[in-house]
């Protein structure tokens, strides 16, 4: 395709802006790392307290070399994925049931609101007593954190679907199930994806919190342990690993989003 000169200029400008943003991002990261390293080395602060990029890299290579870290990563990852899947599935099913049975929704509304604003960590002792110590308790914590907000935001999405579109289907003789499958679910798919994105983050929160409560392995366990024995290198390194993992999971959801959008359009 042939573009006019103005359009080419415009495209070049867009491209330059893009490059500028990326360069700034990288510079910012380099700046933070550089400052951190030099401050820690200069003796202004004690690297024992603040750790430093070089120490973190040493720690990382040490942990990967000995292979101990893999076990922790896999445990936490497994728990997070389970919590994410369970809460998304259970939350969606409950949201659909409440949508199909609006009186039930009205009855449960105040309880949902209260549960949503309750800090789930408060339920920690109960979870441990009921579920025992270990994976089950941790996944439960993750599910509790995500599931209520999943229900509420999906339900709000369902209810926001235009009444007139529902009427169009009804005038064609559609039943409730058809309205749900032909209209409500496809219309709220973008909403569902944003719920997925929120849940990825929340599942990490819940699982790390669960591991704080009770665990013998996992990244949350490493954080607690590192804090207790004052190994700030270990704590910082674990946080970096967490950042990377959470980023990867978010990225995967974004890919799903792109695939779905491409299929639609």
């Amino acid at each position: 395709m042939k573009y006019s000169l103005d359009h080419k200029k415009y495209l070049r400008k867009l491209c330059m802006q893009d490059i500028f943003i990326h360069v700034c991002r990288i510079l910012l990261l380099a700046l933070i790392i550089g400052l951190w390293e030099s401050v820690a080395n200069s003796g202004i602060v004690d690297p024992f307290i603040t750790s430093s990029p070089s120490r973190i890299i040493n720690k990382l290579s040490e942990m990967f070399a000995s292979g101990t870290i893999w076990n922790h990563i896999f445990i936490t990852l497994e728990e997070t994925i389970l919590a994410f899947l369970f809460s998304t599935i259970i939350g969606s099913i409950i949201a659909i049931i409440l949508y199909l049975c609006l009186p039930l929704k009205k009855i449960l509304e105040p309880y949902l609101v209260i549960l949503n604003s309750l800090p789930k960590i408060a339920l920690g002792p109960l979870i441990i007593i009921w579920m025992g110590i270990g994976t089950k308790a941790i996944v439960t914590m993750g599910v509790l954190i995500c599931v209520i907000i999943t229900i509420i935001s999906m339900l709000n999405g369902f209810i926001a679907v235009e009444e007139e579109k529902i009427m169009v289907l009804k005038s064609m003789g559609a039943n409730k199930l058809q309205i749900l499958t032909k209209l409500i679910i496809p219309a709220t798919l973008p909403n569902f994806i944003s719920v997925l994105k929120i849940n990825v983050g929340m599942a990490w929160v819940g699982v790390i919190m669960g591991e704080y409560l009770s665990s013998s392995a996992g990244l949350g366990y490493l954080l607690v342990y590192g804090g207790q024995v004052f190994q700030l290198d270990l704590v910082m390194t674990t946080i970096i690993i967490l950042c990377i993992l959470a980023g990867i999971m978010y990225f995967l959801i974004s890919i799903i989003e792109i695939l779905i959008n491409r299929k639609r359009k």
Binding site: E164, K165, M167, S171, M172, K182, L189, K265
Partner: protein, 251 residues
């Protein structure tokens, strides 16, 4: 002529928390097969309500609605309802939008699909069958909505201000489109509109409603050469006579 649709002393009251609204009061309308009827009336007089009752979406508080002597209690495939806005599903292609009614009614088979595709082709949307509604102009969207309604082969078409969302130029074109499609497919149609010229240019008979609660105030039988398109009707001498008469009634 055969009486196809009969509204017999219909009344309808809406109940809400704030109170009750008598929207229609003792309203009777008869519609013959292949007639094109327009309903005009002041805003809020219950025009949309009439269509909702005919389509079986709401039940009248009093009175009876019958189609071919059969009482209407729920939506049936004999009636196709085209809403004021096109209400196309943005995530479906034009073709899938058109097939929606067939799918809902479990009538999607080779034959009905062919019919729907033929409609798409006949009314100039074939090259857009696989496009999404957002890629179409307002007039094309409106045509798609009409074809979606026609695809299930209803006997009666209910059109709620199908052109009100369009600009004047497009409106004239879509009016011609709708009229010729309905003539060609030999349907019976009931058109609700605010636009007096639209009513005169398209229908055989105009029903003028009173202010709320809606009752029939006057019925105007229109006399035009059958072959004229809506646009051509506008330059006929009797057009302005009818306009004047109806406009006075609506004051």
């Amino acid at each position: 002529m055969d009486k196809l649709l009969c509204l017999d002393s219909i009344s309808l009251t809406y109940h809400t928390k704030k109170g009750e609204t008598l929207a229609l009061d003792n309203l009777s309308i008869d519609v013959q097969k292949n007639q094109f009827i327009s309903i005009v009336g002041p805003s809020g007089c219950g025009k949309t309500t009439i269509l909702s009752i005919i389509s079986g979406l709401i039940k009248p508080s009093k009175g009876n609605v019958t189609i071919e002597e059969e009482q209407v209690t729920k939506p049936s495939s004999k009636v196709g309802y085209m809403f004021q806005r096109d209400n196309l599903f943005e995530w479906l292609t034009i073709e899938k939008n058109v097939l929606l009614g067939l799918e809902i009614m479990h009538k999607k088979n080779k034959e009905t699909k062919e019919y729907a595709k033929a409609l798409i082709k006949k009314y100039g949307l074939e090259e857009f069958s696989h496009s999404f509604p957002s890629e179409l102009s307002g007039g094309m969207r409106q045509r798609t909505a009409l074809i979606r309604t026609l695809a299930t082969k209803p006997e009666i078409l209910l059109l709620d201000e199908p052109c009100s969302a369009l600009d004047y130029q497009t409106r004239l074109l879509v009016q011609d489109d709708i009229k010729s499609i309905i003539n060609e497919e030999q349907k019976t149609a009931i058109l609700v509109t605010h636009d007096i010229s639209e009513a005169i240019s398209m229908s055989d008979k105009i029903i003028i409603l009173s202010h709320r609660p809606g009752t029939v105030k006057k019925i105007v039988e229109l006399d035009f050469d059958k072959k004229l398109t809506p646009f051509e009707r506008r330059s006929e001498p009797q057009f302005s006579k009818y306009f004047d008469m109806i406009w006075r009634e609506l004051l």
